[in-house]
Homo-oligomer: 325 residues x 2
Amino acid sequence: VSRIALDAMGGDHAPSETVAGAVEAASEGIDVVLVGDRDRLGDELRGLGADLPIRHAPETIGMAEDPARAVRAKAGSSIVVCGRMVRDGDVAGFVSAGSTGAAMATAAILVGRVAGVSRPTIASVIPKPSGRHTVVLDAGANPEVKPEHLVEFAMMGSVLAEVYHPVVRARVGLLSNGEERGKGRTLEKEAYALLEAAPIDFIGNVEGRDLASDRVDVIVTDGFTGNVLLKTTEGVAGMVAAMVVGRLSALTESTRREALAALAPLREQLDYENTGGAHLLGVKGVVVIAHGSSTRVSVRNALHVAAEGADRDLVARVTARIGIR
Amino acid sequence: VSRIALDAMGGDHAPSETVAGAVEAASEGIDVVLVGDRDRLGDELRGLGADLPIRHAPETIGMAEDPARAVRAKAGSSIVVCGRMVRDGDVAGFVSAGSTGAAMATAAILVGRVAGVSRPTIASVIPKPSGRHTVVLDAGANPEVKPEHLVEFAMMGSVLAEVYHPVVRARVGLLSNGEERGKGRTLEKEAYALLEAAPIDFIGNVEGRDLASDRVDVIVTDGFTGNVLLKTTEGVAGMVAAMVVGRLSALTESTRREALAALAPLREQLDYENTGGAHLLGVKGVVVIAHGSSTRVSVRNALHVAAEGADRDLVARVTARIGIR
């Protein structure tokens, strides 16, 4: 199967934006099933003059709830129903813009970890100026890790880079506070030797600025540092873009309009929120976690990302790669 | 005294750029003494038709040497002579673009820690779009820290923000992977309670994107994460700037020239390498660490930063603040 379940009740703008995004994705060939309250989803579909399969789920899990407890207690919640559908083979995976914690707990409890994976990890795919991409992981699932977890991340991130992007063999860098060997905390020093011995193309330490460079395809770090790296990137890109637009206001109206038109494609290129969500790697199904603030565009993009993961056998390839350790 | 010693032999472009930067700073009223090889510095000065006091130091410490060992072994090195001059009260502080490790070791061994400071820390001052600044510390001196060290950083960073910038009372944020209380690693969770109890204006957790926002004046974190934050900021700002310039090439020549002229002031605003160096806080003298790749502009700026620190009694104020715990 390559059908994808959408947690249609998850996210700040659910269900109106989630349903609208699903309708767009379906019109582009994605096989999607909406999971959530039957009546509300039916209303949204009617409003759009569209028809999509619905799997009823009467409950929801809020952002403030304890994820693991809520997942165990609410068998009828939209995210838990998504997880059961993956477990039962009804769908290849699910997309959620709801609580990241609940999505991770659902994946761990219902979908299950790939044999040999001790820590499933969130992988963000960041576009570079060259048109290539950098996979950054862990993006926030595991704030504190051991050196051997970084090796798992490196192997799974390599698969993701090789599956999605025109990379024959992904080059993996270890995020550190300097390029020289021996830089870093105890974590990086111990992980360095393990990464050298792992079946990956390890290029050594890299720095935050390498996110934009073409010398590395996969950057591994703990989930705390990865989260800081990604949020800083978003923040600085937005800041510089705002400063540029501010400066151009000094120009005459027509020159300004021409300059802004020339810069317009950058807006999309730097719009990290709309890249469509991050993969949760290391579980026995395709799981894509979208931004809580996802609009219909982000939801549509996330469904495409999930469908590609299913079509390209992402889970089977991760399983095979982890097996060769 | 408010005289500043310059390690004229430190940095990728020493001594030509260091001497040129010192000559510029001196012409702007900074009282600077060059420290390094008497003959080479004399030659540089003659080439510029300038005259500045020189303190002879026949040796240098290379980037690859073990810092603490080299500082103990090379009593005649330019950085060690700088440290002795601070210790003996000949100068208020020193600036170095040489090995950061050697500058830190010199500060610890010769200048000495302020009573009550267990970990001197490097504080970077980052310009914001609004014209205000954010102090980020630790920027790399201490890759692994304990919660109580973050409290020291917060207090010293508050002094720096209040001394240099128009801030009555600096607002301090703890860098974490989310704003809610309870986010972060064990380090952040334990530090949160200590920061609440400290004599500072603690606003809670902040994220990487807050570097550019006006809601926080001081961001505290460990030296590993701080280094990643700062290098990512540098890298992304440079990347976006390059993408903007690339896009503008699609315009006609005259429109392009107008747009680039309007954007020119941003180049300086985003040029983190030329901000003039970071303060090493918590030692009994003004110590400013400049980028290894410093040009004359960076060296001049760093000397201004150091002279301001001396004029505004930075060290006495840090000492007083740390004493009120």
